[in-house]
Symmetry: C2
Subunit: 201 residues, 2 copies
């Protein structure tokens, strides 16, 4: 990086951030394969050469960084849902309802930030598969901690948290494809049922 | 089609079928965007021009046909699972376990035949989105019918069947990405719990 003054550095940071955000949005909406560096540059109002300046590893390096960014944002949404209700069953349901709201508001495009890219590249782009695994694990840990805090036995909380992530991912897929948030609303009901039935610590 | 003799016709049918199967396998493993007609032709041991001969609409037409084929096969797997146990809760769990088995045997590549392509093209390729919606609806109808037959009240069976498909889709995503079938095994347990708790007709 050739930045020498504080002003240059802040502009650099802004451009880098804009590129990451644009990539995250494209990965979330259409996945990795149809997202070109040219398209990313256009969406970020940057030149392709500045994309390569910040990410010499090109599309793969950038996608890994963008998945991290998207994973953090999705984690924040989960944390918001989990903190919104005292009862762990209602808190879990709230995550599905927040996701439904986001999806509907974005006209069914802002779904999971890792699902499409992960499925497209599994077994073919190890760096992306690793980033996706890390994201899924972080989200699961977040949910498991909240369930344990809500009185669920730790082993049950861990298993159930995995199912919460599976259900959110699957219901989001159904909701996006059918342009209808009913699958996420049904997921909210069924997830809270499972949490209510889980063994207590 | 230029087939004139019965032999030609049967060869034509074979080639067409081989092209559809190869496309279905590629869509299942890597999705629509990175699957080219050239790659399909290679996998089907056919020439690109014969792919266009059978599918003048090119990749999109072929992908719709391949999704139909994949959806039928996935539906057959569900039907096998659903018929394998008398108890509807165990029958539902069996679907998740069959999917886990298929995934593990294929080294985590043979997952849902529509998920990747559907997520990649939602809002962008209406024909594929329609084919995916049709597949998801057929599978849900299959599960709902089995649950109703097993004594679950029709409205609950319909909602629950949607959740079964969501859960299978999501747990399959987690299993593929993490190369571990635990999410599908956990899904089996949680789905059977939900079916057991469902209101009876």
């Amino acid at each position: 990086m050739a930045a020498t003054s504080p002003l240059d550095r802040s502009t650099d940071t802004d451009t880098r951030r804009r590129i990451i955000r644009a990539t995250a949005a494209l990965l979330q909406r259409q996945g990795y394969e149809s997202t070109s560096v040219k398209r990313i540059a256009g969406a970020a109002q940057a030149s392709p050469s500045s994309v390569y300046h910040f990410f010499p590893g090109g599309k793969e390096e950038l996608a890994i960084e963008a998945m991290r960014h998207g994973a953090r944002e999705f984690g924040e949404m989960l944390a918001r849902g989990l903190a919104s209700k005292a009862d762990p069953a209602e808190a879990t349901a709230a995550c599905a309802l927040l996701l439904a709201e986001d999806l509907r508001r974005s006209d069914w495009s802002d779904g999971c930030p890792v699902a499409v890219t992960a499925l497209e590249t599994v077994g073919r782009v190890p760096g992306l598969q690793e980033a996706a695994t890390r994201a899924l694990t972080e989200w699961r840990t977040l949910v498991a901690a909240r369930l344990t805090e809500g009185g669920i036995a730790p082993a049950a909380a861990h298993t159930l948290a995995g199912t919460v992530i599976s259900m959110l991912e699957g219901a989001e897929l159904l909701s996006r494809v059918t342009a209808d948030d009913a699958p996420l609303h049904d997921a909210a009901v069924h997830l809270s049922q499972l949490v209510r039935a889980a063994p207590r610590a």
